[in-house]
Assembly symmetry: C2
Homo-oligomer: 337 residues x 2
Amino acid sequence: MATSMPTRRVTTYDIAKSLGVSRATVGFVLNDTPGQTISEATRTKVLQEAQRLGYRRHSAARTLASGRSHIVLLVLPDWPLDFSLRRNIEEASLTLDQAGYTLVTYTPHSSGQARPLWESIQPDVVLTLNSFAPGQAEAIRAAGITRLIPDPEAPPSEDYIDNGPALQLEHLAELGHTVIAYAGLNDPKVADLVNGRRDRAQKTATALGLRPISWRNINLTDESALAAIHDWRTAGVTAIAAYNDDVAAALTGAALRGGLTVPGDLSIIGLDNTPLSSMFQPQLSTINVDTAGLGRYLGRLALSSIEGTPPPAAGPEMRATLIPRASTAPLQETENS
Amino acid sequence: MATSMPTRRVTTYDIAKSLGVSRATVGFVLNDTPGQTISEATRTKVLQEAQRLGYRRHSAARTLASGRSHIVLLVLPDWPLDFSLRRNIEEASLTLDQAGYTLVTYTPHSSGQARPLWESIQPDVVLTLNSFAPGQAEAIRAAGITRLIPDPEAPPSEDYIDNGPALQLEHLAELGHTVIAYAGLNDPKVADLVNGRRDRAQKTATALGLRPISWRNINLTDESALAAIHDWRTAGVTAIAAYNDDVAAALTGAALRGGLTVPGDLSIIGLDNTPLSSMFQPQLSTINVDTAGLGRYLGRLALSSIEGTPPPAAGPEMRATLIPRASTAPLQETENS
DNA sequence: ATTAGCCACTTGCGCGGGCTAGTTCCTCTA
DNA sequence: TAGAGGAACTAGCCCGCGCAAGTGGCTAAT
C-alpha cells in the first residue's frame, strides 16, 4: 500500500465538477435547502456522486459560512454519571442528532482548564441540568453565545421535573404515616440536589398538614445509616423518604441488620427506580422518573431555542410516578415506644 | 438596557482597522507566529486593543484556514468514570490546554448516535484509553482523521502501564504464598480490562514459578464474594489478588463477616489505591497507579503526534507501585485443611 | 557604488460552503 | 405572439483567519 499521499479531502466543488453542475446546486441538494427547486434527476445524481467520492461535510467551513456550529454543549455538574443521567444524555443526544445537531458533554474541572469548551467549539446553545454556577452564565455570554438553557434570567422553575419528593411524601401520608423523616446523602457534590429535594419534601409535608419532617444526611455505610435510624426511631419516626434509591437501600439494609423489619417497623421509599431497587430484598418502593423522556424534552428545548420556535410542552409523560413496592406499608397501630 | 442589537463579533480586521495596521500583523501578534518580527510597541498595542474590543478568536475560521481544529478527542469506554479516571482526564486536559489544545471527551453510546463526534468536530487526534473497538479505527480514519492513539496498527503494548497485576503477584509470592487466586469483577463493561489484568497476573505467576492461579469474577455483593472465598479456601488458596480495590473490599468484608481473619487466614490485595482502601478496616494493601502522571503522558503523546515530534519517554514515575498495608501478611505455616 | 540582508510590516489568496441575486429555458395564458 | 410566471439551475460574494510572498526603508559588507 502506497503511503496514501495526503489525498485532499473531497469538497462540494469536486462533486460539482465531476457532474458538470454548479457548487450551489450541490449545496442545495446536500442541505435540502428550503425554497429551492431541484429536479429529482439532479438530486439523485448529486447524492450518488457524493456517496461515490466519499464526501463528508467540513464542519468548520459550514460553521464559518452559516454562523452556526450545529453543536449543543451540555455542561454537566461534577457528580458521578449514574445510570439515569446517562440515559437522559443519550436520549437528548439522539433527539438532537435527528435534527442535525451534535451534543457534546463537558464537565468543567475545578483545577482550572484554561480555555473552557464553549470558547473552543462555539456551540449554538449551552445547556445545563440544574442551573449555571454563579458567573458561569456571564462567561458563556462573553464568548458570544446567546442561547443558554435554562435561561439564567428566568426564575428557577423547580417545579418542572422534581416532583418526586412530593410523590414520596404523598405516598407515605396516604399510608397513614405522620411522623416522617427525610434522608439525604452526605456528599458535597450533590448538596444542591439534596437540599432541593428536601425542601420540596418539606413543603409537601406542610401542605399535607403533617408535622415538619426531620432530616439528616447520611453516608452510604451501615454505621451512618444505623445511627440515623436509631435517632429517628426514638423520635417516633415511622417512615423515611430517601434522596435516592442508594440511600434507601443503605437505610433498609442497616435497619434489617439492626433487627428491625421493613416495612413492618419502618417504611422506606427511594427515588430513581434504579435496577437495584427492584432486586433488593425487600423490593424498594420508589419513584420512577422518565429520564429518557426528560432527555428528549431537553433536546427539543434546545432545538426550539435555536430555531426560534415555541418551546415544547412539558408532556405529562415526564412527570415522576410512584412505584409502590414492598418497602412501604400502612402504619401499624401498635405499641409505639 | 437596549436589547443589544446583534452586535457583530469582533474580528482581527476590527483590531487592525482601529489601530491602522494590517490584519496580518494582528494575526502574527495574536498567534506569536514564529519567524515573524514584530516590534514590542506594535505587539502591546495589538494585545491591548484586542483586549479592549473584547476580541475572541473564531475557532471555525481558524480551523478552516489552518486545517487544524486544536481539538483532541478522547473516546471513553462505557465504564463508570471513577475517581482515578477523572484525575487522569483532568491532567491530560491540562497538559493539552497549555499547548493550546482542547480535550473533548466522548462516550459512543450503544443506541446508535447517528453522527459520531469525530465527524462533527474534526479533532486533530483521537485518543482512547484502552484500544479502539473493532471497526472504530476505520470509521475514524474515514472521517479524515489520520492521527489515532494508540496506533491501531501497532501491536498492543500492554506493558506500558498495567504492571499492577505483576506487582500484586510478586508481593504475594514474596510473602510466601504459593496458592493464589485472582478475583475479577463480573461486569461486562469492564470485561476486557479484567481479562487483561488477569492474564498479566497469570503470566507473572508462571514467571515466578507458582502454580497457575485460579480465577473467578465476582459481583460486589456479600453472597458472591463469600461463595468465591469458600471455593478458594477449600482449594487451599491463601492469598487473593483483586481486580481493583472495590473487589478487594468486597472480598475482605465478606471474609470477615464469614468468620475468617484478614490477613490471618487470607491475604488480599487490591489495585488503584482509592481513598476507600486506606479507610477500610483492615487497611487494604494495594497498588498505586500514578493516574495524574499517566494523564500528562497521554497529553504529551497527543501533542507529539500532532506536532510530529518524537513521542515522550514513559517516565519511571508512571510505573505502578506497591502500597503494602494491613490486608496482606506472610503465609502462616499452620494447619492447612 | 552596488549588493545583500534584515526589519517590520502589508497584500492578497484561499480554506469549504452558505446564500442572495440573478439567468436561462420552458410552459401556459390572453 | 408577446408576455407572465415558474422551474431549475449558476455566478459570485462573504464568513474570519492563516500564511506565502512581497515591499520599502535602512544598514553592513563587498
